[in-house]
Amino acid sequence: MLRRLAIILCVTATVIAKAQDVPSNSIINQIVEEMAEDGTLTEDSEDEAAELENLAENRLDLNKATLDDLRHILTLTERQAQYIISYRNRYGEFRSESELLTLPGFRNDDVEKLLAFAFVDKSDNKDNRKKYFGINALGRIQRTFPKAKGYKAKNDSTAAAFLGSPNKYYLRILANYGNEWQGGFVAESDAGEPVFSHGISITDFVSGHVAYTPRNKFIKKIIAGHFSARYGQGLGLWNGFSADVSAIQSSIMRNGTGITPNMSASETDYLRGVAASMGTEKIRFDVFASHTDGDASTFIDEDTVLYATSISVTRYHRTKNELQKRNNMQQMLFGAYAMYTKQNLTIGAGSNYWHSSLAMSSKGETYKKFYPSGKDVTTIHADYKYRHSIFSLYGEIAWQSSDAWAAMQAADFDLQGVQFTIGIRKFGRRYYDIMQNPFSRASHPGGESGLYMALAASPFKNTEILANVNIFSNSWLLYQKPAPTSGYKARFKITHSIDRRNSIALVVRHDDGEDADMDDKTEIARTKRSSFKESWTTQLTPKLRLKTSAEEILYHRGSFRSKGFWISEEAKFEFNSHATVTAKLTHFDTDDYYSRAYTTQPDVLYAMTMPMLFGHGIAATAMTKLTINRHIAIWLWGSFMNYLDRDKISSGNTELNSSHKTEAKIQMRFKL
């Protein structure tokens, strides 16, 4: 008994010491990078990255945190969060961090990451309420060199296509008063978009919110302004990012966080209006109303009725044509959601009504035949989660007024260190994700059915494996696919910590499906894409970390073959608590676009990018973070891409008349 306790304490000390040695910011960067490489976080996940940073600075008290609080820690799975609550309910409060290692499914790595965002409070009278007024303001300017074609006048009589400057601006301000009041403001202008001109009063995208979280027992939250709504498993209503079938993950259980303030710079994935959440510990009730704008491509039929054929996702407003479509479509959303929780069971049900000022049209290409038409869509949905000691069941069904339906059902098994997930899904052909974001393969899931299986285990000491396979089929056509298609995606990841300084990882991705034949677009051909990525990370000294990575890509489509390769070296050096420098050099060589690769690169906070590499070239990135004092931090970032196989980059208005491209960013943050 004593020996076991001693071992636990030693391990705990190691875990805690390791957590304390690495500053929270480094852990956030590391987590964000890992999640980006796994596909469980993307470039539009600013809210999630901000959430992590906020949590690192205002760590949760594990003895007071609710299940909802724990769901904001992205490194925790739903099951891990439930284990923490169950343990507390059963055995009382945590007395030390070492108890976390005794929870099922918690490895050293999991505890280390958790302790960056939470703590075990040993004090009897600690009041976790923030006692200060805080401001977190961040501003960024970035630019690409040389100037793209769109910034140059074609001749003396024809002005440049882009109406704005090549600078991209971003401003984000978050203010809070205690734990109850929060306000946020975001202003963003993409490169080429006009600022304070051409009908744009400030920047192209502006968002703001005020959120009130009272200590009232009945009213939980009120938000006015930009917000997100996420419920169930995404079949009924879900704004924002969620991992799809390409991600390397095990459980696909979603943590529907309900209504939350939205500070993302995504110009499409948000709601704007008012939302409120109320209820008791067991019953919660949300209501929301939203009015947003969109850019729609339109056409006029023979009866001179204006229809929307598609809704823009990028919402660029750089040219006169793009500006003409700006906000030409208004969308309204009203809805409600109720949830009941009792012990291990959670049941939810909701409904929302979506209305567009422009009628949607399903005319056009055959694959759009079952897209919704009209101006209104009503969605009714119901979901549940049930947790047992060794398994969790969860699922959702949804029905849309266009006579469409969707269903998914999944189970997670926790088998003494081995996690296994199995899930099935089926979407009717008419099901359309206007305000939904279910777990699916295709960008529009209508007609898709699929089976998902995943396994996570630690078969050897310091080794973890994660594997998943997703089998899918579509009963209807998809974009650029002339027939119903089927296939599967498989992911495999193994990581091994050689010692405290060195770790290696291998990631294998294999996609097997069907696409239009390269030579005859009316025929279907088997398509296979495989990639093998290896990486080795070493903490050479306490201040210097090196990461070497390489990936091989193979692509087949019918008789067409393509391959690619890249190798990179990344170094991160922490001079002291005030200065950190990160640099990465990548050499890539792919036959063409089909064997392209995506890599992560060191980037400033809230601006993660995953550049696509295809062709032959070299990419270099360097970033310096200067922490002036506890209030001010400055980032200087530069990236240089040199293509060895071309003398022009991109095409159209974004074409650069050069074989190389340079990007620069300056970002400053002020915190109070």
Partner: protein, 272 residues
């Protein structure tokens, strides 16, 4: 033969059409068609070294399968295995096909354990009978070895039709395709086991298989698996009581449809 005790079931393995003369039991069907490893250590594996792990009394198995739901491809097989002083012995009988065309296979093998590893060899006679009662025969062998470095780990390798003989039909002949298989099974605890297998046929692409079996209560196993051959998903279940085991499995090929199989076995040693 100092110690040969036969008990229980007959395992009848039917061989499918010439394209695939590997028999799939109900157990195998439930774990993505794995041939070298299985949910419950027994004799359903086609790895000749598998029977080396039988200790004491012997086991008998009978199985029936319907690949892709087609009666023309139905398989029935029987296996009997027992322990002798020198080695464990297997006798197998199988039939695959229907009255218009079917294969009959009779074979036997020996397997012996050497500490943590086992080795086995089988030899089978194959007869192809046509509707007009014409018969064409050939034979093939199988070799297998397995390693059990620790109780929870099993590595199994088998090679089918090493010599790649042919069945001659006079004016033409058909090759008995060589197949190499390698499987790994990891059983970390009493609740689950994870299995992986790679299969490479001489004239075809490699196939990867993965499966998980869960044992929620004693005697019961539930399995699910995936095979890259036809993006196939499989599911199965089995129950063992007093040495009698019943396993059923289904596997769905994305284009060819659903295959099903059932296996009934009896292991006298486990009944005690």
């Amino acid at each position: 033969m100092k110690k040969i005790v036969f008990t229980g079931l007959f395992l009848v393995s039917l061989y499918a059409d010439a394209q695939d003369i590997i028999v799939q039991s109900g157990e195998s069907m439930g774990i993505a068609g794995m041939l070298t490893v299985s949910q419950v250590d027994g004799i359903s594996s086609i790895d000749p070294s598998a029977i080396a792990e039988i200790e004491g009394l012997a086991a008998v198995e009978v199985s029936h399968a319907r690949p892709f739901g087609m009666s023309e491809l139905r398989q029935t097989s029987a296996k009997v295995a027992g322990q002798t002083k020198f080695a464990n012995v297997l006798v197998a009988f199988a039939r695959c096909g229907d009255e218009d065309s079917h294969y009959t296979e009779i074979g036997g093998g020996l397997s012996r354990k050497f500490g943590i590893w086992s080795m086995g060899l089988e030899y089978h006679a194959l007869i192809h009978t046509m509707s007009d009662n014409r018969r064409y025969s050939s034979s093939f062998s199988r070799f297998g070895f397995r390693l059990r470095p620790r109780k929870e780990w099993l590595l199994s390798v088998a090679i089918h039709s090493i010599e790649q003989r042919e069945i001659s039909y006079g004016f033409t002949s058909r090759e008995i395709e060589a197949i190499a298989m390698a499987g790994i099974k990891w059983r970390p605890n009493q609740l689950c086991s994870v299995m992986l297998e790679a299969e490479k046929r001489w004239n075809d692409d490699a196939i990867g298989k993965v499966a998980v079996a869960i044992y929620p209560i004693e005697g019961l196993d539930v399995s699910a698996g995936f095979s890259s051959n036809g993006s196939s998903f499989s599911a199965g279940a089995g129950y063992i009581w007093q040495g009698i085991a019943l396993h059923v499995g289904i596997m769905r090929h994305e284009k060819l449809g659903v295959s099903s199989g059932v296996t009934l076995s009896y292991n006298l040693n486990k009944s005690k």
